[in-house]
Every structure is written in structure tokens, then in C-alpha cells.
């Protein structure tokens, strides 16, 4: 290229001619950025003021609003520079569609995360079961929920699996019913056995008086009459009572003379007839 052919005077002139448009565009960008930031912060604050606010979610919405305003500003600035943005619209649409498809799964996890945060089927510290994973919730993110098992294994489950599927929340209601089956001997008196079970349950101060402990014959099993003991308690006490109840029940049944049978099998032994 022959640089000497460039007419410097023309360049200066054209710079001066386009200067106002450039300045205007820069001014619009500057104002737009300011507005975007202000509106973003305002959005975040507005979301934070709601009764079931969540800081992370508010920041997310603030960021979305800010980015959208910034994009609109850029388009407006380009228009003032004299660039035809109509032709760009196809590109924007195409890119948007492409990204939407690429990020489809992540997007639906984010949507599910928003739903989880707004509707709160579970909150931090709840014991839940999602998609076969059971644990205590340690963090609810936009993409995934983190849980840990009682023996300290961390599990990360995508929010889409929680919101789109089945969530079991073990302590949502605060109180729980603990069901335990005890098999007693067919020879024992059922009323005595039931009285022993209910008596043991009532001796535990953590067991609710109302609804009162309940015990009934749930099954006539192969070797034992199966009596289920149902007691109501606080969720926090349930696991402890579960571990504490078996021993006193055994003592009470022994005292009442009710046997807990071994599996029975009656064998008849026949001699094979040989000629």
C-alpha cells in the first residue's frame, strides 16, 4: 500500500466530522454503564427486601438485569455511530439460540435452583433424599445442591434432579413417627406383649404422650407374631430413640415372660424305602 497517497487533510477532516458521533456514542456507553450498575444494585436490593430473600439469588438477578441493560446500551451506541444494527440482529439471535442449546442443561438446573430457593422444599440442615442420595443439606447453589451423609461423604446433586423429581424431606414436619417391629413367640399372650412394648415406650421421656405410643399385630409371620410399635417424637430425637429402644424392650419382654423366637423350621425325617 502506498502511504504517501493517503490524504492527511482528509483524514483530519473526517476525524473531526465523526468526532461528535463518537463522543455521543461514548457518552451513551458511559451513561448506560452507570444506569446498568445502578439498576442492577437496585434490583438486588429489591429482591433482598422480599420476605423469603436469598442473597445469592438477588445477586444473580441483579447481574442479569445489569448485563441486559449493558447489551441494550451497546446496541444503542452502535446505532448512534451510524452502524446498521438491524443486520446484527440475526447474528445476535443466532448466537443466543446456539448458546441456549449448548447450555440447556445448565440453564434448566439454574431455573430449578431458583425454584428451590423461592419455594424452599428444603433448607440448610434438613435431612433429605433426592435421586437416591440421602444426606443433610450443606449448601443450595444455583446449579447444584450439596449434601453430606452422616458418615461424612459429600454428595452433589444437580438441582434439576431435585425440582423435577421427588424430594423426600425427613424433618420438614418437625415431628416423626418411629416404627419398629418386634417378633414375639406364638405361645406368648399378645396383650401382655403389647402392654410391655407400650410401657417401655412410655418410660422414655422423649416419646410424646399425644399421640400416644401404639402397638398392634401387623403380621402373623413364619416363626413369630410380629408386633409393630409406633411412637411419636421430635425429629432430632428419633435416631437416638431408635438406637435406645431395643434394649429396654428386650428387658421388658423378658420380665413379662414373652419370648422372642428363633426362626423355626420343623423337619420330618423319613427313611427312604428301599427294596
Amino acid at each position: 500500500m502506498d502511504f504517501s497517497k493517503i490524504d492527511m487533510s482528509k483524514i483530519g477532516q473526517s476525524i473531526l466530522e465523526s468526532a461528535p458521533a463518537l463522543l455521543l456514542a461514548l457518552f451513551i456507553l458511559f451513561i448506560g454503564r452507570l444506569v446498568a450498575r445502578k439498576v442492577g444494585v437496585a434490583t438486588e436490593r429489591a429482591f433482598n427486601k422480599r420476605p423469603n430473600a436469598n442473597a445469592m439469588l438477588s445477586r444473580f438477578f441483579g447481574n442479569v438485569v445489569r448485563t441486559l441493560i449493558l447489551l441494550a446500551t451497546i446496541i444503542a451506541a452502535l446505532t448512534f455511530l451510524g452502524i446498521n444494527t438491524t443486520s446484527m440482529s440475526g447474528m445476535i439471535l443466532g448466537m443466543g439460540v446456539a448458546f441456549a442449546f449448548i447450555l440447556k442443561n445448565a440453564l434448566s438446573d439454574v431455573a430449578a435452583g431458583i425454584m428451590l430457593i423461592v419455594f424452599r422444599p428444603y433448607s440448610l440442615g434438613d435431612e433429605i433424599e433426592i435421586d437416591g442420595f440421602k444426606g443433610v443439606v450443606t449448601a443450595i447453589g444455583l446449579i447444584a445442591t450439596r449434601m453430606k451423609t452422616r458418615n461424612n461423604v459429600e454428595m452433589i446433586v444437580q438441582n434439576g434432579k431435585a425440582w423435577g423429581g421427588v424430594i423426600q424431606n425427613h424433618n420438614a414436619y418437625g415431628k416423626r413417627r418411629l416404627d419398629t417391629v418386634f417378633g414375639v413367640s406364638y405361645d406368648a399372650d399378645i396383650d401382655t406383649a403389647i402392654a410391655a412394648l407400650i410401657g417401655t415406650a412410655k418410660d422414655d421421656p422423649r416419646v410424646y404422650k399425644d399421640p400416644a405410643p401404639w402397638a398392634k399385630v401387623v403380621k402373623l409371620g413364619d416363626s413369630s407374631v410380629d408386633i409393630e410399635l409406633r411412637i411419636w417424637c421430635d425429629y432430632d430425637d428419633m435416631r437416638k430413640i431408635k438406637m435406645d429402644i431395643a434394649q429396654p424392650v428386650k428387658v421388658a419382654l423378658d420380665k413379662a415372660g414373652v419370648g422372642i423366637p428363633y426362626p423355626h423350621e420343623i423337619k420330618h425325617i423319613q427313611k427312604l424305602q428301599t427294596n
Binding site: V97, N169, D222
Partner: protein, 289 residues
């Protein structure tokens, strides 16, 4: 030489810029800016009126929904807010167009954003559709004992997105409506009465007629057992490995099902004891050569 002309030209231009701010020029600017200001005011007016219309349209939808008997409040509010936001989107675009900004790319952006949101909410939208179905067809209502998506419990809460069940031991199960409507639903309550079917095995040496009579009597004696649609029933259903299995069938109200079932276990076992009918242990025969 060339540089000099350039310098003078630049100087002239600078002078020109200074000349841009004389009073006459300023009024001239005002005149040229006037249409812009009018446009801005018009856009703001459109925005203001449009927002009013959007809110008004939303309220109308809510009122119509309230009058209709099979659309409940959650669904009504949801439809109302959808209408409101759609109207608002149109209003914003109209206002921006009035300002003279090229909206084609804005619309494209909005289109892409809508697609992204649509894809993100695909599952949720499916749940909403299923929620609408559940509310219109009502396969279960609050307080029913049901089995949904493999989980049993009493229906504790229903909204547009999820159904919550309380299991009998009080675990809360939150099921996405898509999952609930997409699977088979078992409703144990809706038909009012249920039949309690339990097999009792008696010894091969016992008198079957006597056992059947005892079982029928035990069922009839229970205060919660009904005589309609059928009186208590008992028949031999299987000649099993170690026992003759007699099935006892008794009708009762759905809410009494478990009480009747467990009470009958006890009373039949006790009645068998009293009448010397044995419930046998598993028996096997070993043949020795």
C-alpha cells in the same frame, strides 16, 4: 506546505466548535432537539399508560379466574401474572420504538432470551401443565391417601408446581407435578370403602370349615367391619408348602383399613388358639436313604 494548510484547517474547525455555542446556535439546537424531547415524553407516556393497562389486564384475568369454579387461586394468580408480563414486554418495546432506537436487534435479543428461558424452564413448564391437569381432573385431593410416583402418603399440599405427601411416619415427600401426572396414581381413599385381604395359614390336619367359621365370626365381631358391599368372606386360596392358606376378606371404610387389618390379625390368632387351630411353622421333610 501541506502541513501548514492542515494546521489552518484544524484551527478553522476549532474556531467553528467555539462558534457552536452562540445564543442563536443554542436556540437552533433547542429547535432541533424539540422533536427528540417530545419523543421522550411520548415514550414515557406510553410506558406509564402501558403499565397501567398491563396491571389492569392482569386483574381482569384474576377476577375471571376467581369466578370460574374449577380454577383455583394459585392457578388464577399465575395466569394473571403471565398476562401482565406479556403486556409489559410489548409496552417496553413500543416505547423504545417511539424513541427512534432501532428495535430489530433488541427484539432479536429478547427472542434469544425467551428461547433460553424457555429451554431453562422446559421442565418447570411441563410441571405447570401437569399441575393444571391435576387441578382440573383432580385424581386426588387434600387428605387422600395415595400412591404417586412410587411414594405413598396423605396428600398434604398441592400447588401449581408440586404435590406434597406426608408418609404415615411423617416424612414430607415433594413430587414434581410432571412426575405425578406422568405416572400411575393409586388413590386409596376416593372410593370410600376398602377390602382388607389377609391370608392366614392353618395346619393341614386342622378342620378347614371350623377355621373359616372362626375367621368370619372374628370379622363380623369387629365394629368397623361393614356388611356392604359384601359380608365377611373366607375361602381357601392356596394349598401351600406347610399350611392351608385361607384368605379373609372384610370390607371397611378406607380410613379404618389399617385398624381393621391389625385388629383382625390379633383376634383371629387368639380365636385360633382358643379353638385348637394351629398356625404351623414352616415344615420340611428330609428323606434319608
Amino acid at each position: 506546505m501541506e502541513n501548514e494548510t492542515l494546521m489552518t484547517e484544524v484551527a478553522e474547525k476549532t474556531h467553528g466548535i467555539a462558534g457552536m455555542f452562540t445564543p442563536e446556535k443554542l436556540t437552533e439546537y433547542w429547535h432541533s432537539a424539540q422533536p427528540m424531547v417530545v419523543k421522550l415524553a411520548l415514550a414515557l407516556l406510553i410506558l406509564w399508560i402501558g403499565m397501567k393497562i398491563a396491571r389492569w389486564a392482569g386483574n381482569i384475568v384474576r377476577k375471571i379466574a376467581k369466578k370460574s369454579s374449577n380454577i383455583d387461586e394459585t392457578l388464577g394468580n399465575f395466569l394473571a401474572s403471565i398476562v401482565k408480563y406479556i403486556v409489559m414486554a410489548f409496552v417496553v418495546i413500543a416505547a423504545i420504538t417511539k424513541l427512534g432506537v432501532e428495535t430489530a436487534s433488541l427484539v432479536a435479543m429478547l427472542g434469544a432470551a425467551t428461547l433460553a428461558i424457555g429451554l431453562a424452564l422446559q421442565g418447570t413448564l411441563g410441571n405447570i401443565a401437569a399441575g393444571v391437569m391435576l387441578m382440573l381432573f383432580r385424581p386426588y385431593k387434600l387428605g387422600d391417601y395415595v400412591e404417586v410416583a412410587g411414594h405413598e402418603g396423605v396428600v398434604d399440599d398441592m400447588n401449581i408446581f408440586t404435590t406434597a405427601l406426608a408418609t404415615l411416619d411423617n416424612v414430607k415427600i415433594i413430587i414434581a407435578n410432571g412426575e405425578a401426572w406422568g405416572s400411575s396414581i393409586k388413590n386409596y381413599t376416593s372410593l370410600g370403602v376398602r377390602r382388607v385381604d389377609v391370608d392366614y395359614g392353618i395346619d393341614y390336619n386342622d378342620n378347614i370349615d371350623k377355621a373359616i367359621k372362626i375367621m368370619k365370626e372374628a370379622s363380623a365381631k369387629h365394629p368397623k367391619v361393614l356388611n356392604v358391599p359384601d359380608a365377611p368372606w373366607a375361602k381357601v386360596v392356596k394349598l401351600n408348602d406347610s399350611s392351608v392358606d385361607i384368605q379373609n376378606r372384610a370390607w371397611c371404610k378406607a380410613e379404618d383399613y389399617w385398624d381393621v387389618r391389625f385388629d383382625l390379625n390379633k383376634s383371629i390368632k387368639e380365636a385360633f388358639d382358643k379353638n385348637n387351630i394351629t398356625i404351623p411353622y414352616p415344615t420340611s421333610i428330609e428323606i434319608k436313604g
